[in-house]
């Protein structure tokens, strides 16, 4: 199966001298196209650090990260920014939509950064809104939506740029159980329909139950990597 992500001997050390903390310790990991996987582990195990490094938001102290065969740990500046925009989608725990932009504009924003023509952008926004069950919500602002609806818009924003992979950090943590389940169903459906790779960092049992692969981290090391 084709690799989307490949991490080779990735380590991350925070601090200097005597106060050094090794957040990640020689991680070797591969994710394949179309995976629906979860990084799990206790708080402080290194899940967030690993996601930061995989997304290019942070750089490893040692080791390399390959996304679609390209070493992103050697990239910087605008090049990395463009690469991240075109290849990685993000879903955050607290939705993080831009409050002064409407639903349509929030979804459109990333396509605008990509330079997608207006007609195509609007067509795609409509398609995505229909797909996530928010047709007709175009001109609403985030504060006019429920938490579940906001997270749906966040998913829509993540898939708008047609990325190879979506990194989702605790996407159901701020939602009630029913809404959380609906969201997981939606993401699973998107994964099935578009083949988009989803990697979650989570404590949510519902996501763990649905994930086809569970990678467990402890003290910056992978302690288990199981397919379900």
């Amino acid at each position: 199966m084709e690799h989307v992500f490949q991490l080779e001997n990735v380590s991350k050390v925070f601090g200097e001298g005597a106060v050094q903390v090794k957040a990640l310790n020689s991680i070797n990991l591969e994710f394949h196209r179309g995976e629906f996987s979860a990084l799990i582990g206790p708080s402080g195990s290194g899940k967030s650090t690993l996601l930061n490094i995989m997304s290019g938001l942070d750089t490893p102290t040692t080791g390399d990260v390959f996304l679609d065969g390209i070493n992103i740990s050697e990239m910087s500046g605008n090049k990395l920014c463009d690469f991240r925009r075109d290849h990685i989608g993000f879903i955050f725990q607290s939705f993080n939509l831009i409050p002064v932009l409407t639903v349509k504009e929030n979804i459109e924003y990333i396509m605008l950064l990509q330079g997608v023509a207006e007609e195509k952008r609007l067509q795609r926004v409509e398609e995505i809104l229909e797909r996530i069950g928010l047709k007709g919500f175009n001109n609403r602002y985030p504060n006019q939506l429920s938490g579940g609806q906001q997270q749906r818009v966040a998913i829509a924003r993540a898939i708008a740029s047609q990325p190879s992979i979506i990194l989702a950090d605790e996407p159901t943590a701020n939602l009630d159980s029913k809404t959380g389940t609906e969201l997981i169903d939606l993401m699973a459906q998107l994964n099935a329909d578009y083949g988009t790779t989803f990697i979650f960092s989570t404590h949510d049992q519902k996501i763990m139950d649905r994930a086809r692969r569970l990678v467990t981290l402890e003290d910056g090391k992978i302690v288990s990597d199981k397919l379900s």
Binding site: C81, F90, S94, L101
Partner: protein
């Protein structure tokens, strides 16, 4: 376009803060416009007071009279100089004056004064003496005399009282005395005039001085602008013996005040811009750093430095637009009020010029173009600093609560 929209919408996220900032900056702009308009009004008033009280748009003297004030140095009214003046169609009035130092004596007191020998019909067109007559009338008969109100009080004379004027004849220096009657009392509000000037018939004073010429020729054009356009003409009248001067040379203190005004406006502008810069910086820093997490998100989803700069600068642009709108409204209301009702400074002396009229606020194009544009540009320039701070934020650090 969406980046700009984002910037403009962001300032409305905290309406109270944006409006307070807009008001603070707007008040600064309004203050600058109002001070400028008031200075312009004051300057116009000073020029008008200086020119129309006595000086006129230009004056011509015998060069040596200008230096020594000896009465024998006079200008011949039949000379080529007067022909040239008459040929200039833009000159509205020419008034000739005879000037002599005189001893003015009443039954109570003797004092020195400047005796001004005038042709009443000409002088009425030039100076404001006729508008400032407190009692009586202009000299109509050869032995009539008009006196300044302060001098009148010191001499303890009333209308109709007799006064003896003593002058030295030209060339011989012999004393010559004549009896006059007080026909009028003037009060210009200008201390030197009210305390030390008398107006008499020109022919009478010429007879007393034994001269046929005049000492001062005052020229008035239709307005100040025409006078300024004719400055080269006036200068061309100067010769070895004749000195012709424009109003700027006659009242250099007013010109000096205009320069000082420009300088002080510049200083005020700098101070204002520093204050505005601080207000804008504070507001932007508050607004941006409380949203650093959001900037982390924007970074994460692929917003580049250039786009972040544009977004923050557009936020500053929106804030400055709000500020200049508020500032211009305030300036229009207050300036409009002053431009109609004016501020009464009549009688107040400043820069050797006494205000005789109310000071009216003067609007000008630069107040509503140059100042607001400079403010907007400065604000956008200042916003580059917080923008620079924001683009340096590492997305991973900004997002540490989540990703």
């Amino acid at each position: 376009m969406m980046i700009l929209k984002l910037g403009f919408r962001n300032i409305m996220r905290n309406k109270r803060r944006s409006i307070l900032t807009g008001l603070a900056v707007g008040l600064g702009l309004a203050a600058m416009i109002l001070v400028n308009g008031f200075w312009k009004g004051m300057l116009a008033n000073m020029i008008d007071s200086a020119v129309s009280n006595y000086v006129g748009h230009a004056q011509i003297h015998h060069r040596q009279f200008g230096e020594s004030h000896e009465v024998q140095y006079s200008l011949d009214p039949s000379s080529e100089l007067f022909q040239k003046l008459k040929q200039n169609t833009q000159i509205e009035v020419i008034s000739k004056r005879v000037i002599a130092l005189a001893m003015v004596s009443s039954s109570q007191e003797s004092l020195n004064a400047i005796a001004l020998g005038i042709i009443p019909a000409e002088e009425k067109e030039i100076s404001l003496f006729d508008d400032r007559i407190l009692e009586g009338h202009y000299p109509e008969n050869e032995n009539d005399l008009m006196i300044g109100v302060q001098l009148q009080k010191k001499l303890s004379v009333q209308l109709g009282d007799r006064i003896v004027i003593t002058v030295s004849e030209a060339n011989t220096g012999e004393l010559n005395q004549e009896l006059f009657r007080v026909s009028g009392i003037f009060g210009t509000g200008v201390k030197d005039m009210d305390e030390g000037m008398i107006l008499v018939h020109q022919r009478k004073l010429q007879q007393m001085l034994s001269i046929s010429g005049v000492h001062e020729v005052v020229v008035m054009f239709s307005d100040l602008k025409t006078a300024e356009l004719n400055a080269p003409f006036i200068n061309s009248l100067s010769t070895k013996d004749i000195k012709a001067e424009n109003w700027q040379e006659l009242v250099p203190q007013v010109v000096g005040i205009a320069k000082v005004t420009d300088f002080s406006m510049g200083i005020m502008g700098i101070i204002l811009f520093i204050l505005v810069g601080q207000v804008i910086l504070n507001t932007l820093f508050m607004s941006l750093f409380e949203r650093s997490y959001e900037f982390g998100v924007l970074r994460a989803i692929g917003t580049k430095n250039r786009e972040l700069y544009l977004m923050i600068c557009s936020e500053a642009l929106a804030l400055s637009c709000l500020s200049i709108i508020l500032g211009m409204i305030i300036a229009l209301i207050v300036g409009g009020y002053w431009s109609v009702l004016g501020v009464d400074y009549s009688g107040v002396q400043f820069g050797e010029v006494t205000f005789t009229e109310k000071i009216f606020f003067k609007f000008s194009l630069e107040q509503f173009t140059l100042y607001p544009t400079s403010l907007v540009l400065f604000t956008v320039l200042v916003s580059l600093y917080p923008a620079w701070k924001i683009v340096r934020i590492k997305a991973a650090e900004a997002l540490h609560r989540s990703l």
